[in-house]
Amino acid sequence: MKKTINIPLGSQHISLLEPVRFKFECENEKIISVDSDVGFVHRGIERACTTKFKFDAIGYVVARVCGLCAITHSLSYTAAIEKLLGGEITKKAKYLRILLLELDRVHSHMLCLSHTCENAGFEAMFMRIMGDRELVMEIQELLTGNRVQFDYINIGGVNRDISSEVAQKIVNNLYEVKQRVLGYMDEFTNNWSLSLKFKTIGALSLDDAYRLNAIGPLARASGLNIDVRNEIGYLPFSEVGFVMQTHSEGDINARNIVRLNEILNSILMCENILSGLPEGEIFTKLKGKPNGEAVVRFEAPRGELMYYVKGNGSAMLDRVRIKTPTFASIPAFSHIFVGENYADAPAILASFDPCLSCTAK
């Protein structure tokens, strides 16, 4: 007689923002194997980038790969094209790019934290964090003109300058967010009922994180020191006070703490940028057509994002290849699920912060 039961999760489920299907094979409460299907959102963006759009429009198309890390996608593509065109952008434009990149990281991490709490059954915390997240959305709207899809970065600089009133508003709101985040830090470390759902659940050891190619906050929570912001010299992250955040436990709680620490670090970076924003133009006109190959890496909120762009000297590109963070982490996801209770599966899944529209493109 067969002793296991199969439980499907998805493709439409209350705890999922996006269509993904997991097939859990369970023995009583324990998950013994997991099968995932991530291809529901495949739209064919890579193909359209080489056949439908010209190279100067693709920055706005690849932003629609993912709404949560839209800025990282358009920034990576733009950086690759700027490498091929061989121009140098101004320092002010670079600083404004980092500013929006870090604001995006703050709101993405807050969404992930609130979603993890909701899936663990703590609805009040979900509402609190989502309410405070609006402070960040407000300043993003002031800075770029839109709440989610910013279309802020173009080839050669950024699209909007920052005024002193907006800068002041950003500083005020970020101060408020910082106080709230310090409050969550207390809640996540000391709340007894949250600790039952989060501590020692869904643990990933350092060896497994290294062996299974985990990246982003998932790897940093296990103690692996990887962060692309530490490795690239394209944007001056070290000048604005970037510090890598790691944790040693590797469970859901560790991931939450890493995300909270990264939010605090990002807020510090934004404050440093605004206090020392260089003068100058925000846009440099770059001439010519892309010719040759370029590879660019950036740290999206979920981990390393890689762009490969190949041009042939005309307006249409030969190839655009996008390697997204969630795709690289899928082996680690499947490994973590094995041996856990099925009841914890939604919370574990939310703590990965998966982005399926990135993965399937």
């Binding site: 439409q12 209350i14 064919g44 963006i45 359209a48 629609r64 997240r133 959305m137 989610v148």
Partner: protein, 177 residues
């Protein structure tokens, strides 16, 4: 006894399905349910079960693999139901139009009652759309209560106009114009 029709208007439940969007509209739907915009003051709650839902919120341009699930979810919802297309790409295909795995909008597959434009649709627009959908839901509930008598005389005033008659009438007006 409970008057279900009355409570349906006071507390419509939402079913949300992502048919291949970029998450932008999905997080705006979450934001509109959260304290600042507070859609829940209309009695709206987000459920995962199609069989208990009244309003169907769809985001995304309908990819090749999600279309069967989209139609399946729609057919599982009980009448009366309202479909809202959230975001430009859900209405027309948007930036994804003519990509090889995309079906250019949901109205190829299911009837849509409210279209919400914008990339991404802002929470204010989503609230407007849902308030509009509540009116349509009430109208549809009333429509369902009326007894259907097909082939009734069209001349009776205030009576029910059957579907065939109303369809002909629309066609006549179009011919005149």
């Amino acid at each position: 006894m409970f008057d279900l029709k009355k409570y349906r208007k006071k507390s419509p439940w939402i079913l949300h399905y992502n048919a291949g969007s970029c998450n932008g509209c999905d997080i705006e739907i979450l934001a509109s349910l959260s304290p600042k915009y507070d859609l829940e003051r209309f009695g709206v709650i987000n459920t995962g079960n199609p069989k208990q839902s009244d309003i169907f919120l769809v985001t995304g341009p309908v990819t090749y693999r999600s279309r069967e699930r989209l139609v399946e979810l729609y057919t599982q919802m009980p009448e009366p139901k309202v479909v809202i297309a959230v975001g430009s790409c859900t209405c027309t295909g948007g930036v994804f139009r003519d990509m090889y795995n995309v079906e250019d909008g949901i109205d190829r597959y299911i009837p849509v009652d409210v279209y919400i434009a914008g990339c991404a649709a802002s929470p204010e627009l989503i609230i407007d759309g849902i308030v509009k959908a509540l009116e349509i839901l009430e109208q549809k509930s009333k429509e369902m209560e009326k007894p259907h008598k097909l082939f009734r005389e069209a001349t009776s005033e205030g009576g029910i106009v059957n579907r065939r008659h109303s369809a002909l009438k629309v066609g006549e007006i179009d011919e005149e114009n």
